[in-house]
Protein backbone atom coordinates (compact mmCIF):
# COMPACT_ATOMS: atom_id res chain seq x y z
CA UNK A 1 0.00 0.00 0.00
CA UNK A 2 1.40 3.27 -0.99
CA UNK A 3 1.51 6.07 1.48
CA UNK A 4 0.20 9.27 0.21
CA UNK A 5 2.63 12.08 0.69
CA UNK A 6 1.08 15.26 1.81
CA UNK A 7 2.03 18.14 -0.44
CA UNK A 8 4.52 20.44 1.19
CA UNK A 9 3.31 23.96 1.83
CA UNK A 10 4.48 26.49 -0.68
CA UNK A 11 7.66 28.26 0.29
CA UNK A 12 7.06 31.89 0.82
CA UNK A 13 10.03 34.04 0.05
CA UNK A 14 10.66 37.44 1.42
CA UNK A 15 10.87 40.03 -1.31
CA UNK A 16 14.50 40.86 -2.05
CA UNK A 17 15.52 44.00 -0.27
CA UNK A 18 18.14 45.96 -2.21
CA UNK A 19 21.18 46.90 -0.14
CA UNK A 20 21.33 50.51 0.94
CA UNK A 21 23.10 52.67 -1.59
CA UNK A 22 26.76 53.19 -0.77
CA UNK A 23 28.37 56.58 -1.09
CA UNK A 24 31.53 54.90 -2.36
CA UNK A 25 31.47 52.89 -5.54
CA UNK A 26 33.89 50.04 -6.25
CA UNK A 27 37.35 51.13 -7.31
CA UNK A 28 37.33 52.31 -10.89
CA UNK A 29 39.36 49.95 -13.02
CA UNK A 30 39.48 47.26 -10.34
CA UNK A 31 41.58 46.71 -7.24
CA UNK A 32 44.57 45.27 -9.11
CA UNK A 33 45.26 48.41 -11.10
CA UNK A 34 45.08 50.49 -7.90
CA UNK A 35 47.56 48.20 -6.15
CA UNK A 36 49.79 48.52 -9.20
CA UNK A 37 49.43 52.32 -9.03
CA UNK A 38 50.40 52.42 -5.35
CA UNK A 39 53.45 50.23 -5.98
CA UNK A 40 54.50 52.39 -8.92
CA UNK A 41 54.18 55.65 -6.97
CA UNK A 42 56.17 54.13 -4.10
CA UNK A 43 58.86 53.05 -6.60
CA UNK A 44 59.13 56.51 -8.14
CA UNK A 45 59.04 57.98 -4.63
CA UNK A 46 62.00 55.90 -3.46
CA UNK A 47 64.10 56.95 -6.45
CA UNK A 48 63.14 60.59 -5.91
CA UNK A 49 63.98 60.44 -2.21
CA UNK A 50 67.35 58.99 -3.16
CA UNK A 51 67.86 61.90 -5.53
CA UNK A 52 66.91 64.39 -2.79
CA UNK A 53 69.41 62.75 -0.44
CA UNK A 54 72.08 63.28 -3.09
CA UNK A 55 71.84 67.05 -2.62
CA UNK A 56 73.61 66.63 0.72
CA UNK A 57 77.33 66.89 0.19
CA UNK A 58 77.02 67.60 -3.54
CA UNK A 59 74.90 70.75 -3.45
CA UNK A 60 77.17 72.73 -5.75
CA UNK A 61 77.31 69.97 -8.38
CA UNK A 62 73.57 69.40 -8.18
CA UNK A 63 72.74 73.12 -8.38
CA UNK A 64 74.96 73.55 -11.44
CA UNK A 65 73.40 70.53 -13.13
CA UNK A 66 69.83 71.53 -12.26
CA UNK A 67 70.41 74.95 -13.80
CA UNK A 68 70.92 73.22 -17.16
CA UNK A 69 67.49 71.58 -17.10
CA UNK A 70 64.76 73.01 -19.31
CA UNK A 71 62.06 73.99 -16.86
CA UNK A 72 59.90 75.26 -19.73
CA UNK A 73 60.05 71.77 -21.24
CA UNK A 74 58.99 70.34 -17.88
CA UNK A 75 56.05 72.74 -17.75
CA UNK A 76 55.03 71.79 -21.29
CA UNK A 77 55.20 68.13 -20.30
CA UNK A 78 53.08 68.79 -17.21
CA UNK A 79 50.43 70.59 -19.26
CA UNK A 80 50.35 67.79 -21.86
CA UNK A 81 49.97 65.09 -19.21
CA UNK A 82 47.29 66.99 -17.30
CA UNK A 83 45.32 67.65 -20.47
CA UNK A 84 45.80 64.01 -21.47
CA UNK A 85 44.38 62.88 -18.11
CA UNK A 86 41.39 65.17 -18.60
CA UNK A 87 40.79 63.71 -22.06
CA UNK A 88 41.03 60.13 -20.73
CA UNK A 89 38.52 61.02 -18.05
CA UNK A 90 36.12 62.31 -20.73
CA UNK A 91 36.50 58.93 -22.44
CA UNK A 92 35.39 57.21 -19.21
CA UNK A 93 32.37 59.51 -18.98
CA UNK A 94 31.30 59.02 -22.61
CA UNK A 95 31.75 55.25 -22.28
CA UNK A 96 29.46 55.29 -19.24
CA UNK A 97 26.96 57.26 -21.34
CA UNK A 98 27.09 54.61 -24.09
CA UNK A 99 28.78 56.75 -26.77
CA UNK A 100 31.50 54.49 -28.22
CA UNK A 101 32.61 56.80 -31.04
CA UNK A 102 33.11 59.70 -28.61
CA UNK A 103 34.98 57.33 -26.28
CA UNK A 104 37.28 56.33 -29.14
CA UNK A 105 37.87 59.98 -30.00
CA UNK A 106 38.71 61.03 -26.43
CA UNK A 107 41.11 58.10 -26.03
CA UNK A 108 42.77 58.92 -29.35
CA UNK A 109 43.18 62.55 -28.29
CA UNK A 110 44.65 61.44 -24.97
CA UNK A 111 47.12 59.19 -26.80
CA UNK A 112 48.14 62.14 -28.99
CA UNK A 113 48.81 64.19 -25.85
CA UNK A 114 51.00 61.36 -24.54
CA UNK A 115 52.82 61.16 -27.84
CA UNK A 116 53.40 64.92 -27.76
CA UNK A 117 54.83 64.56 -24.24
CA UNK A 118 57.22 61.89 -25.54
CA UNK A 119 58.37 64.07 -28.45
CA UNK A 120 58.87 66.98 -26.07
CA UNK A 121 60.96 64.79 -23.78
CA UNK A 122 63.12 63.45 -26.63
CA UNK A 123 63.74 67.02 -27.81
CA UNK A 124 64.75 67.90 -24.24
CA UNK A 125 67.21 64.99 -24.13
CA UNK A 126 68.67 66.14 -27.46
CA UNK A 127 69.09 69.79 -26.50
CA UNK A 128 72.61 71.24 -26.84
CA UNK A 129 72.83 71.95 -23.07
CA UNK A 130 72.52 68.24 -22.31
CA UNK A 131 74.88 67.06 -25.05
CA UNK A 132 77.46 64.55 -23.85
CA UNK A 133 75.67 63.89 -20.56
CA UNK A 134 75.30 60.21 -19.65
CA UNK A 135 74.20 58.12 -16.69
CA UNK A 136 77.78 58.11 -15.38
CA UNK A 137 78.42 61.88 -15.64
CA UNK A 138 77.49 62.38 -11.98
CA UNK A 139 74.80 61.38 -9.47
CA UNK A 140 72.43 64.17 -10.50
CA UNK A 141 72.43 63.15 -14.14
CA UNK A 142 72.07 59.50 -13.21
CA UNK A 143 68.89 60.36 -11.30
CA UNK A 144 67.62 62.65 -14.04
CA UNK A 145 68.15 60.21 -16.93
CA UNK A 146 67.04 57.15 -14.99
CA UNK A 147 63.89 58.63 -13.43
CA UNK A 148 62.70 60.60 -16.47
CA UNK A 149 63.59 57.66 -18.73
CA UNK A 150 61.60 55.28 -16.52
CA UNK A 151 58.71 57.70 -16.62
CA UNK A 152 58.97 58.03 -20.40
CA UNK A 153 58.72 54.25 -20.72
CA UNK A 154 55.51 54.40 -18.68
CA UNK A 155 54.21 57.15 -20.97
CA UNK A 156 55.00 55.16 -24.13
CA UNK A 157 53.30 52.11 -22.65
CA UNK A 158 50.31 54.27 -21.77
CA UNK A 159 50.12 55.66 -25.31
CA UNK A 160 49.91 52.08 -26.57
CA UNK A 161 47.17 51.27 -24.05
CA UNK A 162 45.17 54.38 -24.98
CA UNK A 163 45.52 53.68 -28.71
CA UNK A 164 44.35 50.10 -28.18
CA UNK A 165 41.38 51.28 -26.11
CA UNK A 166 40.52 53.80 -28.82
CA UNK A 167 40.45 51.13 -31.53
CA UNK A 168 38.44 48.74 -29.38
CA UNK A 169 35.99 51.47 -28.41
CA UNK A 170 35.50 52.37 -32.07
CA UNK A 171 34.64 48.70 -32.71
CA UNK A 172 31.95 48.94 -30.05
CA UNK A 173 33.62 46.50 -27.66
CA UNK A 174 33.03 48.67 -24.59
CA UNK A 175 29.96 50.27 -23.10
CA UNK A 176 28.27 51.05 -19.80
CA UNK A 177 28.14 47.33 -18.94
CA UNK A 178 31.72 46.61 -20.06
CA UNK A 179 33.77 49.46 -18.63
CA UNK A 180 36.49 47.70 -16.65
CA UNK A 181 39.23 47.98 -19.30
CA UNK A 182 38.26 51.56 -20.10
CA UNK A 183 38.46 52.58 -16.45
CA UNK A 184 41.66 50.61 -15.83
CA UNK A 185 43.36 52.27 -18.83
CA UNK A 186 42.30 55.72 -17.70
CA UNK A 187 43.45 54.99 -14.14
CA UNK A 188 46.85 53.94 -15.47
CA UNK A 189 47.09 57.21 -17.39
CA UNK A 190 46.26 59.11 -14.17
CA UNK A 191 49.13 57.20 -12.52
CA UNK A 192 51.55 58.41 -15.20
CA UNK A 193 50.32 61.93 -14.50
CA UNK A 194 50.65 61.62 -10.71
CA UNK A 195 54.17 60.21 -11.02
CA UNK A 196 55.18 63.17 -13.20
CA UNK A 197 53.69 65.59 -10.67
CA UNK A 198 56.21 64.17 -8.19
CA UNK A 199 59.09 64.00 -10.69
CA UNK A 200 58.73 67.54 -12.03
CA UNK A 201 59.07 69.58 -8.81
CA UNK A 202 61.68 67.35 -7.19
CA UNK A 203 63.97 67.04 -10.22
CA UNK A 204 63.43 70.36 -11.97
CA UNK A 205 62.41 72.87 -9.31
CA UNK A 206 63.31 71.99 -5.76
CA UNK A 207 66.71 72.78 -4.29
CA UNK A 208 68.02 73.72 -0.83
Amino acid sequence: MLDTVAPSPPVTREPAVPPPPSRWHPLTGGTAVWLFMCIEVITFGMFLLGHAWGWRGQAAVYREAQALLHVDSGVRGTVLLLVGSGLAYQAVLTNAAGRPRATAGWFAASAVAGLAFSVNKVLEYGSPELAGITLSTNDFWFSYIFITGLHLLHVLGGVGVLAYLSVQAARGVYGPDNALNVEAGAAYWHLVDVAWILVFPILYLMHP
Binding site: L49, W55, L82, V194, P201, I202, H207, P208
Partner: protein, 80 residues
Protein backbone atom coordinates in the same frame (compact mmCIF):
# COMPACT_ATOMS: atom_id res chain seq x y z
CA UNK B 1 27.49 67.47 -17.30
CA UNK B 2 28.33 68.32 -13.69
CA UNK B 3 31.19 65.82 -13.76
CA UNK B 4 32.50 67.25 -17.00
CA UNK B 5 32.50 70.79 -15.60
CA UNK B 6 34.15 69.60 -12.39
CA UNK B 7 36.87 67.80 -14.32
CA UNK B 8 37.60 70.92 -16.40
CA UNK B 9 37.62 73.03 -13.22
CA UNK B 10 40.11 70.65 -11.62
CA UNK B 11 42.23 70.66 -14.78
CA UNK B 12 42.29 74.47 -14.80
CA UNK B 13 43.32 74.51 -11.14
CA UNK B 14 46.12 72.03 -11.83
CA UNK B 15 47.41 74.05 -14.76
CA UNK B 16 47.35 77.19 -12.62
CA UNK B 17 49.26 75.45 -9.86
CA UNK B 18 51.83 74.26 -12.40
CA UNK B 19 52.37 77.89 -13.39
CA UNK B 20 52.68 78.82 -9.71
CA UNK B 21 55.38 76.19 -9.21
CA UNK B 22 57.25 77.49 -12.23
CA UNK B 23 57.05 81.05 -10.90
CA UNK B 24 58.24 79.96 -7.46
CA UNK B 25 61.21 78.11 -8.93
CA UNK B 26 62.13 81.14 -11.04
CA UNK B 27 61.97 83.34 -7.96
CA UNK B 28 64.55 81.15 -6.19
CA UNK B 29 61.98 80.15 -3.61
CA UNK B 30 62.68 77.43 -1.10
CA UNK B 31 62.13 73.77 -1.87
CA UNK B 32 59.47 73.70 0.83
CA UNK B 33 57.36 76.28 -1.04
CA UNK B 34 57.59 74.36 -4.31
CA UNK B 35 56.74 71.15 -2.47
CA UNK B 36 53.80 72.90 -0.80
CA UNK B 37 52.35 73.89 -4.18
CA UNK B 38 52.95 70.36 -5.48
CA UNK B 39 51.09 69.07 -2.42
CA UNK B 40 48.15 71.35 -3.24
CA UNK B 41 48.14 69.86 -6.74
CA UNK B 42 47.92 66.42 -5.20
CA UNK B 43 44.99 67.55 -3.05
CA UNK B 44 43.19 68.68 -6.22
CA UNK B 45 43.92 65.33 -7.86
CA UNK B 46 42.75 63.56 -4.71
CA UNK B 47 39.51 65.54 -4.84
CA UNK B 48 39.06 64.50 -8.45
CA UNK B 49 39.50 60.85 -7.55
CA UNK B 50 37.09 61.17 -4.64
CA UNK B 51 34.35 63.27 -6.20
CA UNK B 52 34.57 62.27 -9.84
CA UNK B 53 35.80 58.70 -9.78
CA UNK B 54 34.10 57.93 -6.46
CA UNK B 55 37.00 55.76 -5.36
CA UNK B 56 37.05 54.37 -1.86
CA UNK B 57 38.38 57.14 0.41
CA UNK B 58 40.97 54.88 1.99
CA UNK B 59 42.83 54.80 -1.30
CA UNK B 60 42.89 58.57 -1.50
CA UNK B 61 44.24 58.69 2.06
CA UNK B 62 46.89 56.11 1.15
CA UNK B 63 47.86 58.05 -1.97
CA UNK B 64 48.05 61.29 0.03
CA UNK B 65 50.26 59.57 2.60
CA UNK B 66 52.64 58.26 -0.08
CA UNK B 67 52.84 61.56 -1.95
CA UNK B 68 53.14 63.57 1.25
CA UNK B 69 55.94 61.32 2.45
CA UNK B 70 57.81 61.72 -0.83
CA UNK B 71 57.40 65.50 -1.02
CA UNK B 72 58.04 66.14 2.67
CA UNK B 73 60.87 63.63 2.72
CA UNK B 74 62.50 65.28 -0.29
CA UNK B 75 62.43 68.65 1.46
CA UNK B 76 63.96 67.18 4.62
CA UNK B 77 66.59 65.16 2.77
CA UNK B 78 67.66 68.15 0.70
CA UNK B 79 68.20 70.03 3.94
CA UNK B 80 65.98 72.83 2.70
Amino acid sequence: MKRTYLSFLALTALLGLTGAMWALAGAESSAAMVAAVAAVKMVVIGAVFLELDCAWPGWAVAAAAIVGTVLGGAVLLMGA
